[in-house]
Symmetry: C2
Subunit: 636 residues, 2 copies
């Protein structure tokens, strides 16, 4: 199988990539893994329906995710609505900043993503063999291409003008780029006065519940919360199938931790894993290629910022291996400094290699305390945690004691706001104020609603005192692994797809048994009542063991039946023949990828398959235990 | 337990209902089963978050549903987007008719549901002890109350005026009632010209995929498709917690079947079940009380319209029993004739008795071929199935042969439309046309876009011929069981809640093990390293067996720890004591409801609990197999 796999998915030319993608797409659509939604009405771009096998795979993958993360790590799983009032997404920054640049065809009004248009235009210039650009110009273009994602409205507009980019198809002029918010907007309630959006990510539901979750967890940190659910982005131009859609399933984790101590108690369990890491350094270097490195080394050398982030990289890697992504074609790419939000400490994307290039499937980000601080500021609700020291400590602290009488006399009705602003100063800011006042200057403080006040000597006493301190109040940092389930599925499809040796038309979806939509098929060898009856009994036993199965009594040749089930990736096939009902009562059990076969007593076969699916036994162990069945020619 | 249960949930006065509801609500919110969404921003009515135990129960219930229906019945599960283009919901009738009547306070603009307002007002009149209404008036009011759901805008308006209903709180006048569409509206794509809605039900996703699903199923009927997903209704005034919310999870089945033959091959498996049936006859009768009746009898007496509908009623009843709804407090209520849509053949609601009265949790409807016909008419896509007869039959058929030359001469450019209209006539309509033409009259036919044409003799030949017919083309009927997951959860909560004998403050959620969010807790009896270590090992073994578990090393008394876990309904508790590490190596295993305890070898306990959760063994069998541990006083 591995050879076959390499043959179709190893070093391939651009054309064979296209061919592979088309062949796979044929299987996926024909077998209804997923299809465009609302097909009878002509479909709507960016929406897909999962048909029966796709739906089952999605369930199975999600269940593996839940076991691997939520159950094994004792995470707090929550489920929050997709419809979200504006204030939540105002606090998170999505209302103001969750935008892409759009341009329109000035004549037809058709809309395009500005970055896609510019990229396409520049790539075409580089590839133009008839009118090749000069080496100097090529370098300028390549530099511009590398930075397209960072352009602002004005620089993007300038580039589009400079290269005379026009609307595809019509060749018409395009508008200057403008920001288009990607959230679906709606209205909540009957009055029409409450703006709502469909959430663009599930994470915010966790942040707004932080206080209740902390209480639920007995006030203890660190803890992680998780959510699996649908998110919505009104993409300007959806494309590339499941890779860029308007409604998609996310599985997100928010691990809350004290920013001063990001060690992880279970880090040792992943320290020796060696995933491909594509660090900032390697991206800036000559070879531009990810290298395997143990996570322990990556943390100790400061390549990954902390143990907790590295722990999740390791757990993510194990998850991808479990569901059938080829680890040799998966890497973790570190964000370059300019790619990260200003508050982020370190970010790594889990990327999988496909015919579309490297596809970002997971984002792992140390977002510091940004999110909780933003919601706390907007909601005026305290979202801090308290860490009790094992023993109280004597510590030098800065005390701010406002002079109420003086503040009242000067600020009148603003007295309270000024007092609060003074008391909210952190130690360093308070010491700055103290220094200014002592040097005879005035100092300025700001209230939470943005008013500023001038503070003069006598209005406040600021002093260092040594106090018994029992603990520390802080806003937790959050480390966020965020998974795009549809993208992971598509990448897994590409990695699992292969064709039978010697027959390019016989497609096989080599799904891991745990992910496979149907775990087994049951075939009576020929159409006879006794054989059909035993096949029916085995099918019922499989169902009772929780194993999805198909019984095929069509009477087609066994070879033809295998070809059908290969396309939906059924890992095991049970064939009932005359020996099963008249002889020793055994049936043939066949494994999809090796195509090897053993004879198993009919009454044991459901248990054997259950153990194989649950990874309690391996096919090797099964072939060791049961007698081999010499296979007839492949297309028996 | 049953006695306790009766005590709190049997015949209760209105006041004790309120008390039960409040006590349960306290547990549900305190233990974060579910809480109002966006709490730190003051919440938005009709939206709830599931916290960790609620989320786990929802997963478990959904998984039971999937096994019980999708796996055991080999249904085709699909997953479609919530965002839906207008045309789909135009075809289904939701754009035009998915409305509630609303009135507004003329001074404040506040919105109310007209039916709720009228009901509340009439009920208050009936209950008014100070100014009692006359017996005659009371009868008029009761009749009006019974029919509130059927009022149209004008009759509703007249009733509101007649009884001088005013806005609650303010006492202001209210507007006349007007229809308010309950769908959340949005816009798809960047141009703003494509109207979309959030789906009000998941069913439409299945109907629009019928053609592909039929193909997937090899063209064979009957088959069922299923979908679990979120639906959205912008309720005017959400209330009663999980019972009326704006975003909720549905699990819907569409069973497609030939309308001429609604027998079900597995009906015998449910024929002897005796759920409480509340037929039309019983509802119109004196006693107004549901009665147990075998489903076989109900079908043979014509009470339930057909086997397939009755089969799903039986399967639904089994599902409710499996997840812990008390079958004595569940009934199936048949829709009265005037409650049903004109196309429906028969409808039954699965209702569960709670402190809110009987709550509709499931609708089971025989919707005839309405849905597929509606989508076929709108999309112009053929949504029929073909039933091949076992043997071709000689049948008398009506043939319609348009005279093209004559049609062309008379209708010119409309020739094609007229021809299609003639060919689309069914047998009876064609014979009507034939009769008219033969008696010298003209006949009228309509094209699909509503144009009518006058047909005269000579334009068409209509004749009866005997032909060999190989099969029949028909639009399948659909039988739709539709489950509201959140409502079922809430009803289950009420049925599972009880308090420990003699202590009204000790709440227990008596969840079935398969539904319970946490399957087991592990307690070291006292804080000792050896005990903690063994407890940790058992916890890891439980996790490896896929069993969610909690380890509690707080050192609280065992009684206090039980009280905590009772509130989240943990069915099994493992206590590690000195005998476990120094003596015979056994641990105490306690069952929540009976509070009985046995000693089980530490190495076996995970397997025993797995078997209990999966229903492979019972607590009785376990107490028979292992030695009892004499319990210390309950609050040990």
């Amino acid at each position: 199988k591995q050879k076959e796999f390499e043959k179709t998915t190893g070093k391939v030319s651009s054309q064979s990539k296209e061919a592979l993608r088309a062949a796979l797409a044929g299987v996926l659509e024909r077998r209804m893994f997923y299809i465009p939604s609302f097909k009878i009405y002509g479909s709507v771009a960016g929406f897909y329906d999962y048909g029966p096998p796709g739906c089952a795979i999605k369930q199975n993958m999600t269940q593996v995710w839940r076991t691997h993360f939520v159950l094994e790590e004792n995470m707090l799983e929550v489920e929050c609505p997709a419809v979200t009032p504006e204030v939540v997404l105002k606090a998170s920054g999505h209302v103001d900043r969750f935008t892409d640049f759009m341009v329109t065809d000035v004549a037809t009004g058709e809309c395009f993503r500005a970055d896609h248009l510019l990229e396409g235009h520049l790539e075409a210039l580089l590839e133009d063999k008839k009118n090749p650009v000069s080496p100097e110009k090529a370098k300028v273009i390549r530099d511009l291409l590398a930075g397209v994602g960072e352009l602002k409205a004005d620089t993007m507009g300038a580039a589009l003008t400079e290269y005379d980019v026009r609307a595809p198809g019509t060749g018409n002029a395009i508008s200057p780029p403008f920001a288009f918010n990607l959230m679906f907007k709606t209205s909540i309630g009957p009055k029409g006065d409450m703006v709502g959006f469909l959430r663009p990510e599930t994470a915010q539901g966790i942040f707004v519940n932080f206080r209740d979750l902390l209480y639920y967890n007995g006030g203890k940190l660190p803890f992680a919360a998780a959510q699996i659910g649908n998110s919505y982005r009104n993409e300007i131009s959806p494309r590339a199938g499941l890779l860029r859609v308007r409604e998609f399933t996310q599985a997100e984790i928010e691990h809350f931790v004290n920013g001063d101590d990001k060690r992880h108690p279970k880090f040792a369990l992943v320290a020796d894993l060696r995933p491909l890491l594509y660090s900032r350094e390697l991206q800036m270097g000559e070879e531009k290629k990810a290298q395997p490195m143990s996570l322990g080394e990556a943390v100790s050398r400061g390549i990954i910022a902390n143990e907790t982030l590295a722990y999740f990289i390791g757990r993510t890697w194990l998850f991808f291996c479990k569901i059938g992504v080829n680890p040799a074609r998966m890497r973790f790419r570190q964000h370059l400094q300019h790619e990260m939000a200003h508050y982020a400490t370190d970010c790594w994307d889990g990327e999988v290699e496909t015919t579309y290039g490297w596809v970002e499937c997971v984002g792992l980000a140390d977002r510091s305390a940004y999110d909780l601080k933003a919601h706390s500021a907007m909601s005026k609700i305290d979202l801090t945690a308290f860490e009790k020291f094992p023993e109280p400590r004597m510590e030098e602290v800065v005390k701010v004691v406002p002079n109420n009488k003086e503040l009242g006399a000067v600020f009148k009705k603003d007295q309270k706001a000024v007092k609060e602003a003074l008391e909210a100063l952190d130690s360093n800011a308070a010491l700055d104020v103290k220094a200014k006042l002592e040097s005879g200057q005035a100092a300025t403080v700001s209230s939470c609603d943005g008013q500023t006040f001038e503070i003069k000597a006598g209005m406040v006493e600021i002093k260092k005192v040594t106090e018994k301190v029992t603990g520390k109040t802080y806003t937790p940092s959050v480390i966020e692994p965020s998974f795009g389930i549809g993208r992971i599925m598509y990448c897994m499809f590409e990695h699992c797809y292969y064709t039978r040796e010697g027959d390019e038309t016989r497609a096989v979806m080599g799904f891991k048994p745990v992910v496979a939509p149907t775990k087994a098929t049951v075939f009576p060898l020929v159409q006879k009542p006794a054989l059909n009856e035993l096949a029916g009994r085995i099918s019922r036993e499989l169902t009772a063991a929780g194993l999805s199965n198909l019984i095929d009594t069509t009477g087609n040749t066994i070879g033809k039946r295998y070809a059908r089930t290969d396309e939906i990736g059924v890992p095991f096939a049970v064939t009932v023949d005359f020996a099963s009902v008249e002889g020793d009562g055994s049936v043939t059990l066949r494994e999809r990828d090796s195509m090897t076969q053993v004879r198993v007593p009919a009454g044991e076969v459901a248990v054997v398959i259950r153990d194989l699916v649950d990874d309690r036994t391996s096919w090797e162990a099964v072939t060791g235990k049961y007698p081999a069945q010499k296979a007839p020619a492949d297309d028996e």
